[in-house]
Amino acid sequence: MKKIKIAHLYPERMSIYGDHGNTLALEQRMNWRSIKNEVVRVEVGEKIPNDIDLIFIGGGQDKGQLVVANDLLKKASQIRDFVESGGPLLSVCGGYQLLGEYFISNDYGQIQGIGLFNIISKATNTRMIGNIVVQSEKFGQLVGFENHSGATEFIGRANPLGVVKKGYGNNPNDKLEGVIYKNAIGTYLHGSFLPKNPKVADWLLRQAIKHSGQTLKLKELNDELENSARKFASKRP
């Protein structure tokens, strides 16, 4: 079997909220099933390899986002083509915002996004901080921690990742959290997101394998600890 390649976009500038846990979860869940894999770090000014099977982008400090936003525009058509052809993508927090139409920031005005998701985001004066629990049709209960002052809204047609049961989600008003478009996910959940939500991790891996042109049924793993951690986290204030 050909190895599965993950592109981790901007690990130096966009991984402040424990984002390492997301790529680690993907890697280990492949290692435990003896699926060969590689995480390719792609920084500003570097090319995303053509043969990647999954894209991950995390959250960063506001200050670093302008540089990243400009670089993303150069990669926009490659990322869009990848997603249109069924490639899986996970974006968290700042990364999620930059994949929308635009982000209006306090310090830099309107920052152009790559328009992958039908969302717009605006800086607000309320910081949305705390444990968050989401109910998702596709994945069941999801838990995480959110910490953002940008509020995100859908423009036109868009499907949320889930409905907020506790916390804020996309914005303080509509109780929706994240977005799914084809096999691309955007979310405000870190914590880290994938280790405690292994159904999402495995779903991303299934799409990655399919996208690589291979067929393989993912072996079930023992997720008892993952599920206990999620249960405990969902009860924290």
Binding site: G18, G21, L24, N147, P195
Partner: protein, 458 residues
């Protein structure tokens, strides 16, 4: 008049605290501030003839101020110090109301305060320090402090508002160093740092944040990164770069977990600190620089004080528990935890290892930071590992993804203590790594158990 009332009320509250053993060290400060909201400013007015020193930064505040206090002791300079680590506004007020007499006079010559990063602008605008020390800025409890840049920005504007203050800054931390870059009116900061470090480094350090020029966002060029974003770096010609060191530590040699040796400014006298870790070399050289420029304490007194120093409360403290020697190592953020892994855990891999992870407000509600710490470096740890606290399952999960097997989970503190006893023999040595609130509660449980045992035998 109002301030006198505030002082008296705080003193009464403090006495009540001591009698009842409750209330906490910030309670008198709370009382005083309720009566007079400007009490902090009034308390320092016309006091401290030899100046006020403030120590801030993510890690090392408590240890650095303790080292400075030892130097003041050695030089025979009297001081007031918020020694219990109560580093927010009310804690500071409490330490002052304790020392002030009813005519608003404090007999100490120096005020020495560690101040929480988030409270710096408010506290410093009130007490107007003569010297400000910044140890470092790392990612830390982002739910409480916000992002590093936000803190740095608040510091920069504060420093502009205090044009007379000495700035003692870590040159090896780009974001901290940049706070003294291009100051107005040819004002110069004092820089400390480490010239070179050949000791061990972690293989899985994910905590570097400030590896970019803070003004242009271009990547800095590191010739050596010691840990996180701390090291020797340079920027573009004509722009921001690592400043010249005024106080420089070198020849760093660590032996086991016992001590670390180094020299400062080419001195022939080797300093031997009775605590390990490169981070403690940074704390020492920061204290050295401060004692020198703020108070002109002699090298002899400074070096003597450093050689006699031990770690601060709960930071690296040995407790005895049912015949076991338990080393308590506080963890608060990934960079600090990495330093503990590197300086302690990797040196004695056979010990029983206990993590106690809470997510109370004072710990930070967000435990994402566990995923950024270098647990992968512990893959060949040989001792048994126990995890406890309100986030025991998250901790266990982190270790699972680091490939570490056989971890035992016990969220309940009393049961965890029983498990420690079960999994260790008498006279064995144990590492315990608690978050802040877990440190306080485990410490008091252990100390009271140990006293009970002693009374029984007496």
């Amino acid at each position: 008049m109002r301030s006198l009332l505030a002082i008296l009320a705080a003193k009464a509250a403090s006495k009540l605290n001591r009698v009842s053993g409750s209330g906490g060290s910030s309670f008198p400060g709370l009382v005083a501030k309720k009566i007079d909201k400007d009490i902090l400013e009034k308390l320092v007015l016309n006091n401290f003839p030899r100046g006020i020193i403030v120590v801030t930064g993510t890690n090392g505040k408590t240890t650095t101020s303790k080292l400075i206090a030892n130097m003041l002791d050695e030089a025979g300079i009297t001081y007031v110090h918020n020694r219990t680590g109560s580093n927010m506004e009310q804690g500071l007020i409490s330490s002052l109301t304790d020392s002030v007499d009813i005519s608003s006079k404090i007999s100490a010559e120096v005020g020495l305060f560690e101040v929480d990063e988030a409270f710096m602008p408010k506290v410093c605008r009130a007490i107007k320090p003569d010297t400000i020390v910044v140890t470092n800025l790392f990612r830390d409890q982002l739910d409480r402090y916000g992002e590093l840049d936000k803190i740095a920005r608040s510091f920069r504007s504060l420093f502009e508002d205090l044009p007379g203050a000495n700035l003692v800054l870590n040159a090896d931390d780009p974001l901290v160093a940049s706070l003294g870059f291009n100051l107005e009116n040819e004002r110069k900061a004092t820089y400390f740092g480490v010239a070179n470090y050949n000791g061990p480094k972690l293989k899985h350090d994910y905590t570097a944040d400030s590896i970019f020029d803070p003004f242009t966002q271009e990547k800095l060029h590191y010739t050596d990164r010691y840990f996180s974003h701390i090291g020797r770096y340079r920027g573009k010609r004509g722009g921001f770069t690592r400043p010249k060191l005024d106080f420089v530590a070198e020849d760093v040699k660590q032996k086991g977990i016992e001590n670390i040796k180094f020299v400062v400014n080419n001195s022939t006298k080797v300093i031997k600190l009775d605590m390990p870790g490169l981070f403690n070399v940074y704390n020492s050289v920061a204290a050295f620089a401060t004692a020198k420029i703020a108070l002109e304490i002699s090298d002899k007194d400074i070096i003597f004080a450093l050689n006699e120093s031990s770690a601060a409360f709960g930071r690296s403290e040995t407790l005895s528990y049912k015949g076991r020697e338990l080393l308590l190592l506080l963890i608060k953020n990934p960079t600090g935890l990495n330093q503990v892994i590197q300086s302690y855990l990797l040196k004695e891999k056979d010990r029983l290892l206990v993590f106690v992870i809470n997510d109370n407000y004072a710990d930070g509600r967000d435990i994402s930071w566990l995923w950024d710490a270098a647990f992968e470096d512990l893959s060949d740890y040989k001792g048994k590992i126990l995890v406890g606290g309100s986030r025991a399952y998250d901790m266990a999960l982190r270790l699972k993804y680091a490939g570490i097997k056989g971890v035992s989970i016990e969220p309940d503190e009393s049961k965890l203590l029983a498990k420690i006893e079960m999994n260790s023999s008498k006279r064995s040595k144990v590492f315990m790594l608690p978050t802040y609130t877990a440190m306080l509660s485990m410490r008091s449980k252990i100390v009271s158990e140990d006293e009970k045992a002693k009374e029984y035998w007496q």
